[in-house]
């Protein structure tokens, strides 16, 4: 069976385990399993934005070399931040052969990177290779009646050269939601930053972002928010209890990975779902009676 050369990244082995569990199960069900390649390393999470900094490209390029050693020309990620960092790094070295030569000379224990590995996000594979109609066919438990707000965040869409969809009006997650017979909910904050790593030293800023983003999703009628970024998921999910302490009227909103939503519809392992609300809605009572 064909498979995809899969780069998990650190989060999917720790706090975002349910992302990996659900993605693995979904892709197996769709006949294109994720196959983790050996000896991958942390991508560094953020792409270095200075022209002269080659040092911080080593971690990403080393991953691409491992993929190349495997005889593959594609690397598939689930985490938006890994996607962005790997993709930008591959473009950065391909644009300037001198940079690539320097990096190759520095990493003298590895093969030289030939610049041929394509970095793709799983959502692109679903859209471009599998197709939404196939996803719909594979569904055994329709999500009819469930209103889902896609939260794209930053790293899937920006900058434009690495974006998997239009940076201002993306539709890729809406299309996925529709394929599962759920109702996509557009809301004005779907591509606005959650505050990202500022959670480390400015947590209050993230709490404020969570309030704005999730209240907007709530007002637009969402039952659940989906994302593909472990940092967005952490920020938006984990700061809700703090938010409730200061704003008791805030209504909690489950924030899950898009693959978990798919897993519910395909009735495969979704990993732990964060809220009894969603578990109840989608599984126990059966959204739309699960008929189709």
């Amino acid at each position: 069976m064909d498979g995809l050369t899969y780069f998990p990244g650190c989060s999917l082995k720790e706090e975002a385990k349910e992302f990996e569990i659900s993605a693995m199960a979904v892709m197996k069900a769709l006949g294109l399993p994720l196959i983790e390649f050996e000896r991958w390393n942390c991508c560094g999470t953020v792409f270095s934005l200075t022209e002269d900094d080659l040092m911080h490209q080593l971690a990403t390029i080393r991953n691409l070399i491992r993929v190349q050693e495997n005889g593959s020309e594609e690397i598939v990620t689930l985490c938006s931040m890994c996607y962005n960092t790997l993709k930008r790094s591959s473009l950065f070295v391909n644009r300037d052969k001198e940079r690539l030569e320097k990096i190759n000379a520095f990493m003298d224990r590895e093969q030289a990177y030939e610049g041929k590995v394509e970095v793709r996000h799983l959502l692109e594979v679903l859209r471009d290779r599998i197709g939404w109609d196939k996803v719909e066919e594979a569904m055994t438990h329709s999500l009819e009646g469930l209103s889902v707000a896609p939260y794209y965040g930053c790293m899937l869409l920006r900058p434009r050269e690495v974006g998997i969809d239009d940076p201002d009006n993306p539709t890729i997650m809406q299309d996925l939601i529709e394929a599962l017979w759920a109702t996509p909910v557009e809301f004005p904050f779907q591509t606005e930053c959650c505050g990202s790593y500022q959670v480390v030293d400015r947590r209050e800023l993230i709490v404020e972002r969570t309030h704005r983003i999730l209240s907007s999703a709530r007002r637009s009628g969402a039952d659940v928010v989906i994302t593909s970024c472990p940092l967005c998921q952490y920020n938006l999910q984990k700061t809700q209890s703090e938010l409730k302490e200061t704003i008791p009227t805030f209504e909690e909103m489950p924030v899950i990975y898009f693959t978990q939503l798919m897993a519910v519809a395909l009735e495969v392992d979704s990993g732990e779902l964060p809220s009894p609300l969603l578990a109840g809605l989608a599984i126990e009572e059966g959204v739309g009676n699960g008929e189709r």
């Binding site: 975002a16 934005l49 200075t50 022209e51 930053c154 920006r158 930053c193 800023l205 972002r209």
Partner: protein
């Protein structure tokens, strides 16, 4: 002028341009970047004021907290009609501090509870952005 021991080096503007690969004077101050920036509430200078400060070689710009609040979200970058990548300028300004060993966050200032509560994706990203 220099704060936290920042040495204002000769040719700072040129250094920012070199590190970022951006032409600071391409900006015509339309304000699109600031209009779309989600984090301006916390910034003491708006993103377009940061770039104006650079154009004027007003080194008080280097004392603004904007570069540390910026989350590299690239909203400004996709919207700038002049193709200026402000996220890269912010990074270049941070790098001028970080390359003088002037870190903005320190693991020593954090309690073990704080650290254990945070996911590693946030810690790695933050330390990549705010330490040298």
């Amino acid at each position: 002028m220099a704060r936290n021991g920042l040495e204002i080096i000769e040719g700072l503007l040129e250094k920012v341009e070199e590190l970022s690969g951006q032409n600071v004077f391409a900006c015509y101050q339309c304000g699109m970047c600031s209009a779309g920036c989600p984090l301006t509430d916390e910034m003491d200078l708006l993103p377009n004021q940061v770039i104006r400060g650079l154009q004027l070689r007003d080194w008080r710009t280097m004392e603004s907290n904007a570069m540390w609040i910026c989350a590299s979200c690239f909203s400004c970058q996709v919207r700038c009609p002049k193709g200026v990548d402000l996220a890269r300028l912010m990074e270049a300004m941070r790098q001028i501090y970080l390359r003088q060993q002037l870190d903005h966050v320190s693991i020593d200032d954090m309690t073990p509870e704080q650290i254990s509560k945070l996911p590693q994706i946030a810690l790695v990203a933050s330390f990549r952005k705010k330490t040298g």
